[in-house]
């Protein structure tokens, strides 16, 4: 269509890097907040340093990698049921 050859901001790899760096900075800042407020948790383990941060990180990696592993067993051709 009309914007077929238009260069977009995200086409530049540098700009994508900027977003990624911003994510790094925000993540670091979120860890720093651990020193400045008292968490009202429900369980003791919530008070471990950066519990939510590393739990989220590890949960995500384990979900994606085990799903990838699952593919070995359950992946079939697209027309398998046809």
């Amino acid at each position: 269509m009309k914007d077929n050859n238009k260069k977009h901001w995200l086409d530049n790899a540098e700009n994508v890097n900027k977003i990624v760096y911003l994510l790094y900075i925000v993540c670091a800042a979120l860890l720093v907040t651990e020193f400045f407020y008292h968490r009202h948790g429900y369980f003791d383990f919530e008070n471990w340093f950066g519990f939510y941060a590393w739990f989220g990180f590890l949960a995500y990696i384990s979900i994606v990698m085990s799903a990838k592993f699952l593919r070995r067993f359950i992946k079939r051709k697209e027309d398998y049921y046809d």
Partner: protein, 565 residues
């Protein structure tokens, strides 16, 4: 209430049928007016029972309005209004009719005060939603619709048998708390479990929803499963087993969602996972947990419809929702991409969006009851939601590598529908009290505390960080055209094979029996011919000797009987 027409469900069902004879422009406005009229009638009904009458000995209640049925009916009507805008250009009148009958029946089921009325509307949703799937007219839709239909009619059968047994043991058909103390309770629970896509009963959902039309899938995503959530909340609140089932439901679909290629199927797995959160809330059963479930259903209907609408728009413009064929679409469809991101962030429960203020209640309620393991599973599943719905759906369709596909932006009516749904996600997220005031119980929960906001952001952004790490190191599983086996394999492969084998066996058996019958008639015939035919011994004129023989035989028999008695 004296007039049966003052029932939101009847208005929608009749209206859905009437629209088929209207000219195009009038039909469009008429369809938009129906949910508005339905909502007007609903809001003006005071809490209470209406439309009570007797059929044989059964006392039926057509309409029960209380906090729980009100909020579910309301969100069903709001969703229908949005879907009607989304379907503005839809020309297939049959599809529109099944959609409105389906929505009306779902509202009728929610408002039903007794199990028999519930059953009738339950079956009407099954039939109309199957028609909605078939309306897509593809081979895949036809087959998936057949499987869907069989499964949902079965669910209705369980409900009917359960309801009859329930009546015989309690003497009442009223639909209140049922519980699992009796056989009838179990049967009705199975009916609800099928419709709620419990683990191992879930495949109809991922099987059929992606096969429906652009518009059809959006409507399907709203009603069937949330009707089941309503029914479970009404009949089985506090049933502990549901906590574990719900937790399992949040966890296992995410693995399938991660490797699924069809993005509408990814959203179907994700829908299944969201239902898990609601089922946990029902199982916990405290006031806060039930509030959380209802709030989550309300928020979920809007952001899930929004996500399905955005993928529907992609399907409408590009012709596919396979991630392996998409990418870079934000250049062509920036508005659709933006709305999709709002839906994705809502379902991931980012602060200031609707999912955050509803899901947090369920997690808090589970934690308050000391369910630490369940709580960890829900947290784990939340990271999974961020992957498949938060990142995968928008990223692989609108960004990722540029597929080179260029198309027009979605039509205006679709953008308006998505815009309204997105606005709801934001308004509910920013002003949670608007939703909290509608909940069945008084809300004693503050979502925006420093702890909640910071911990949620940590969870989500570090999960996003994990995505960046995996994607940049090429460890993230690539999108490949494929079919992934799930539990439905058992009835689609060996099940179908057995059924075919059984059918062959029966037809062969039939042949054998026919053959044997033929032989038998031949043998009997020839014997008869021999004895009774022209030359047959018994067809001769009887000589006196044989007469004497028969008399002697009869007398002998008489003698024997005489001695026996």
């Amino acid at each position: 209430m004296t007039n049966i027409l003052f029932h939101p469900a009847i208005i929608l069902i009749l209206g859905g049928l009437v629209q088929t004879i209207l000219p195009t422009q009038l039909r469009r406005i008429f369809l938009l007016a129906l949910p508005v009229l339905g909502a007007f009638v609903l809001v003006n009904l005071d809490a209470g029972f209406y439309g009570q009458f007797h059929v044989f000995n059964y006392e039926l209640t057509l309409l029960r309005v209380d906090e729980l049925s009100f909020i579910f009916s309301l969100i069903f009507l709001i969703a229908l209004f949005i879907v009607a805008i989304y379907a503005w250009q839809e020309k297939d009148k049959l599809q529109l009719a099944s959609m409105f009958v389906y929505a009306g029946a779902a509202i009728g089921a929610v408002l039903a005060g007794d199990l028999l009325t519930l059953f009738i509307f339950w079956e009407v949703t099954a039939i109309s939603s199957a028609l909605l799937i078939w309306a897509n007219k593809t081979k895949g839709a036809l087959r998936a619709g057949q499987r869907y239909f069989i499964i949902h009619v079965t669910s209705g059968l369980f409900l009917l048998i359960g309801a009859i047994l329930h009546y015989h043991s309690t003497g009442s058909l009223a639909f209140d708390h049922i519980g699992t103390e009796s056989l009838s309770g179990w049967l009705i629970l199975i009916a609800f479990a099928i419709k709620c896509a419990f683990p191992l009963l879930h495949n109809w959902l991922q099987d059929s929803y992606p096969e429906a039309s652009v518009v059809g899938t959006v409507a399907l995503s709203v009603y069937t499963t949330k009707l089941a959530v309503y029914a479970l909340a009404r009949g089985y609140a506090g049933t502990e087993m549901l906590i574990w089932i719900g937790a399992l439901m949040t966890a296992f679909p995410i693995f399938f969602a991660v490797i699924e290629n069809d993005l509408r199927r990814v959203l179907s797995y994700s829908l299944n996972n969201q239902l898990g959160f609601m089922v946990v809330g029902i199982g916990v059963g405290t006031e806060m947990a039930l509030n959380g479930t209802v709030a989550h259903a309300f928020a979920h209907i809007l952001y899930k419809a929004l996500l399905f609408m955005s993928m529907g728009a992609v399907l409408y413009r590009v012709g596919t929702t396979k991630a392996s064929e998409l990418g870079g679409l934000y250049k062509s469809m920036p508005w659709t991409a933006g709305f999709c991101i709002i839906g994705a962030m809502s379902i991931s429960a980012f602060p200031l969006l609707s999912g955050f203020i509803s899901k947090a209640m369920i997690l808090t309620a589970a934690a308050n009851e000391g369910h630490w393991l369940i709580w960890l599973v829900l947290l784990f599943a939340s990271a999974g939601v961020l992957d498949h719905s938060g990142i995968k759906v928008p990223f692989f369709s609108f960004f990722a590598h540029d597929s080179g596909k260029r198309c027009a932006e979605a039509p205006a009516n679709m953008l308006i529908a998505m815009g309204i749904a997105a606005a709801f996600c934001i308004v509910i997220g920013v002003y949670p009290s608007l939703l909290y005031n509608l909940l069945p119980h008084t809300v004693d929960f503050i979502p925006y505390t420093a702890s909640h906001v910071i911990t949620q952001l940590q969870l989500l952004l570090f999960s996003a960080l994990a995505f960046v790490v995996l994607f940049r190191s090429n460890l993230y599983p690539p999108e490949i055209p494929s079919t992934n086996l799930d539990f439905d394999w058992f009835y689609r492969k060996p099940g179908a094979y057995l059924a075919r084998g059984f059918a062959t066996m029966i037809s062969r058996g039939e042949e054998n029996i026919l053959c044997a019958l033929k032989k038998l008639t031949f043998v009997v015939g020839s014997r008869l011919h021999r004895h009774h035919g022209p030359q047959g011994i018994l067809s001769r004129t009887w000589p006196t000797g044989s007469m004497v023989m028969w008399v002697a035989f009869l007398l002998g028999a008489y003698l024997i009987f005489y001695y026996i008695y």
